[in-house]
């Protein structure tokens, strides 16, 4: 309805400079929201279903009698609850999300639309293969793109995320050694590696040994040489590595690794820096996972789902897990099981992997094409170097020279300010930005790892750098409270993680158990 304002003052008369606290705790558009357990009714439902015309009397004592304890909300309440919650999140669609090693890039909506086509979303993994030829063709196309971009002869699509891909790769490596009756015990991993690398190696039954790093932030060849031996199953590297640097000696590393009878696993989480410009196969890699949710833009979704296909060398290809797609005269076939006598290490999970992510990643690759993907790498690297150049004057970088897709700083420049990396990050939140990755990689003290990605415009990067520089000046000027108390302008102030861990409260519990009338 209309607002009659004629002749009425619409300009605030008394300008009160500090906002009076509201009476009900309201904060304008920002809504505080209780848990569904505090809102919902035990009888309420937001789904209309017809009464069944047969009961469950045949199930006798198998029937669940006691209340389950699930609150329900009508549709309007449900929508409002989750819309309110959503507004308490930062997102790539809101501003720069410079988490180093995470490749938070734009997520095209075209991909969301295509993944939801009934022909992709409403098909069952086990319906007759004659009725899913388009899906199998799509998987085959994705495999072709991944193999061509990496130069590798084979790919296992089914791993469900990067860590799952690491698992897949190391399982293939272990199977390869076992096939030769060669039970190796150690896997070499740099200290700078992401936590999933050592965790995966240990999961696969290997002892993890750390490789030293040079002053230039790369693998120390001599140390690697010294550690290589007949019981080393694999060397696990990340390239570009987690310091944002390219492992110059990769080809040499591969040669020595192979000479020792070991395989070279490459963590491909940072593939965005080189996609379309460098093929891992040309670096001597035996296995590499690709986080489709990083390089190929499938949304992170607040923590997944992702997808981690693994490309494999000739040597490892025979050990790839089922299922796989092959093309014959009568169309595409999906092999659910490794045939008799195959060397495949078996199966990683039920069904055929993250189909929904495949569609998105393929749509992204086709949109960019061979030319665009190389441009992606170039712009990602350029953006990172621009950040490094703009901030380098104030912040201290542990390693000189150009970086690849991410710029790494340490906290030496904060010495004596009383401001820790964490405080600095929280203050960035007040300025409207998501902090960079902190305290990783472990090889750098108080690390701050900044990855803008290629989908950030120069203007946004400048806005970010201006904010960082302004905060840096404040820190050096001794304006410590701004940092220690931060954030002040976020939906919540700083959260007490220590208390959360001391006595974990991991679920809602009713004051007294809900009295539910089981119907």
């Amino acid at each position: 309805m209309s607002l009659q304002t004629i002749g009425r003052p619409t300009r605030a008369e008394a300008i009160v400079e500090t906002a009076p606290p509201t009476l009900t705790g309201g904060r304008g558009l920002l809504q505080h929201e209780p848990l569904i357990f505090e809102l919902g009714g035990w009888e309420k439902t937001g789904v209309d279903l017809a009464e069944p015309d047969l009961d469950a009397s045949d199930l006798g004592d198998l029937v669940r009698a006691a209340p389950i304890g699930l609150p329900g909300l009508s549709e309007p309440e449900t929508l409002r609850h989750y819309v309110r919650l959503s507004q308490q999140n930062h997102a790539i669609d809101l501003a720069l999300y410079p988490l180093g090693s995470c490749t938070m890039k734009h997520n095209p909506r075209l991909n969301e639309k295509l993944a939801r086509l009934p022909g992709f979303a409403d098909i069952h993994p086990l319906q007759p293969q004659s009725t899913v030829q388009g899906a199998l063709a799509m998987m085959d196309m994705l495999a072709h793109w991944l193999k061509t971009l990496t130069g590798m002869p084979a790919v296992a699509l089914s791993p469900k995320a990067g860590a799952h891909g690491e698992l897949c790769g190391l399982l293939a490596i272990r199977a390869a050694h076992e096939a030769r009756g060669d039970a190796r015990k150690r896997v070499l991993v740099p200290t700078s590696a992401h936590g999933t690398n050592p965790a995966t190696a240990a999961f696969v039954g290997y002892a993890v040994e750390e490789i030293a790093q040079t002053a230039a932030g790369r693998v120390d060849l001599a140390d690697l040489e010294a550690r290589l031996g007949p019981d080393v199953a694999a060397v696990m590297l990340t390239n570009p590595n987690t310091c944002g640097l390219f492992e110059r000696d990769m080809i040499e590393i591969a040669a020595r690794t192979h000479a020792a009878g070991a395989y070279l696993y490459c963590d491909g989480a940072n593939f965005n820096a080189i996609v379309g410009k460098v093929r891992p196969a040309d670096l001597g890699v035996d296995a590499m996972h690709i986080n489709l949710h990083k390089t190929f833009s499938t949304p992170h979704g607040g923590g997944g789902p992702g997808a981690g296909p693994v490309v494999l060398s000739e040597a490892l290809a025979p050990y790839a897990p089922a299922p796989w797609v092959s093309h014959g005269l009568d169309g595409f076939t999906l092999a659910d099981h490794a045939p008799e006598g195959s060397a495949s290490f078996g199966r990683l999970s039920a069904f055929h992997g993250q189909m929904g992510m495949y569609v998105r990643a393929l749509a992204y690759m086709m949109s960019h094409g061979a030319d665009g993907l190389a441009q992606v790498a170039e712009d990602a690297v350029l953006n990172a170097n621009y950040v490094k150049a703009r901030l380098g004057g104030v912040m201290t970088a542990p390693f000189g020279g150009y970086c690849m897709h991410e710029a790494l700083f340490d906290d030496q420049w904060l010495d004596g300010t009383g401001v820790a990396t964490l405080d600095f990050a929280k203050a960035l939140i007040d300025e409207g930005f998501h902090p960079m990755t902190m305290y990783f990689p472990l090889v750098v003290h108080g690390a701050m790892l900044i990855e803008p990605t290629e989908t950030e415009p120069k203007a946004e990067i400048d806005r970010f750098c201006d904010a960082v520089l302004a905060l840096a000046a404040a820190a050096k000027a001794g304006d410590v409270d701004r940092f220690k108390g931060a954030p002040f302008h976020a939906p919540l102030r700083r959260l007490d993680e220590t208390q959360a861990a001391r006595k974990p409260k991991l679920r809602w519990r009713p004051e007294e158990p809900p009295t539910v009338a089981a119907e």
Binding site: L85, Q88, W145
Partner: protein
Amino acid sequence: MRYLPLTPDDRFAMLAVVGAPDIGALFTDVPDAARLSAPVDLPMHMGEIEVERALAGLAAKNRSGAQGPFFCGAGAYRHHVPSSVDHLIQRSEFLTSYTPYQPEIAQGTLQALFEFQSQVAALTGMEVANASMYDGSTAAAEAVMMAHRVTRRPKAVLSGGLHPQYADSIATLAHVAGVGVARQAAAVDGEAEVVAAIDAETACVVVQTPNVFGTASDLTRIAEAAHAAGALMIVVVTEAVSLGLLKSPGEMGADIVAAEGQSIGNALNFGGPYVGLFATRERFIRQAPGRLCGETVDADGKRGFVLTLSTREQHIRRDKATSNICTNSGLCALAFTIHMTLLGETGLRRLAAVNHAQARKLAAALAAIEGVEVLTPRFFNEIAVRLPQPAAWVVERLAGAGVIAGVPFSRLSPEAHLDDVLLLAATELTTDADIAALAKELSGVLA
């Protein structure tokens, strides 16, 4: 290039600030031998119109569930997902955010995860649940690893009712973890057999209800036997909706529940992404894999949520972590939570009742067909039948007639030699007309 904001001018200006003569200079660390001189051999960039034409063309080559009678189950179920669920999970703030490591600006995701954990714990009848696993099968494999850590015993007993692809996934991890797997022969009432196999070496028994043949059973006695022997009972559930009608694993003594959550809020997606539900007892929580969201307070004393107990996780504990999992199934978990919130206790029970009712009609219709034997004694929404012909052959024939008749057991486990067994599921989307059409076509094929 529509996704790339930098203009030629931007690049030029930025290179100047960087102090690099050209973009190539930034890649000098790459050995010449590995630097591509020309674009890789793939198509050049395409506009939305072309990409959409190409992929919609492939999608059109698949037969979607809505196109006719459809009875596939076997671990993935075709349920209705309310339109508001898919709308909400596409909100930028949920879709394009990262794992909530900065809780002050991630309360949306964190509170939803806390609600998810609470719902999963209630649904499974367990004390605590984690923030999701990749899917049900990997959750089951992790559960076995966890039982191995908890009991320090070398053997896992897998029931003959366990989904064969779940058993395969478990075997893969067990092998490298040095855990022996006692895998029982596929059997409609597989759970009945496991007790005998439990011994002092047993870390866990893995049982499923409803099992892969659709059989619903009371696992209480198995739990007692396992506990008596110092082993854990891991209960696998592949049809989460069944928990709206059937006794919960918790009520039957489960120590760990590994379930597939796809049925709530998530589409079939040809097998993924799905969402693994992982629930256990409070006292085992520090041995659990995956992320956990916990309640705390902020500097002003306001309630808030954070990821917690991360000392179990790879990014802190590295090679001593309880699992290597990092990215999980966040958005699928959100879809699960939103759908479950819409359903609530009342809606979930109603939904489960409707599924069971339709399955009973399905079973009756099939039992009435000459030569068809219904094998599943007590079921929720899925049954196994024995056919006078190889199930795979029958299914192909019916597909030709426009009916997707279910999953031949041979597709899951050729080595089980149950080629004449067909698995069929019914849900709230299965109409009486669908069942009639199936019966008609099946009778025709078998006649």
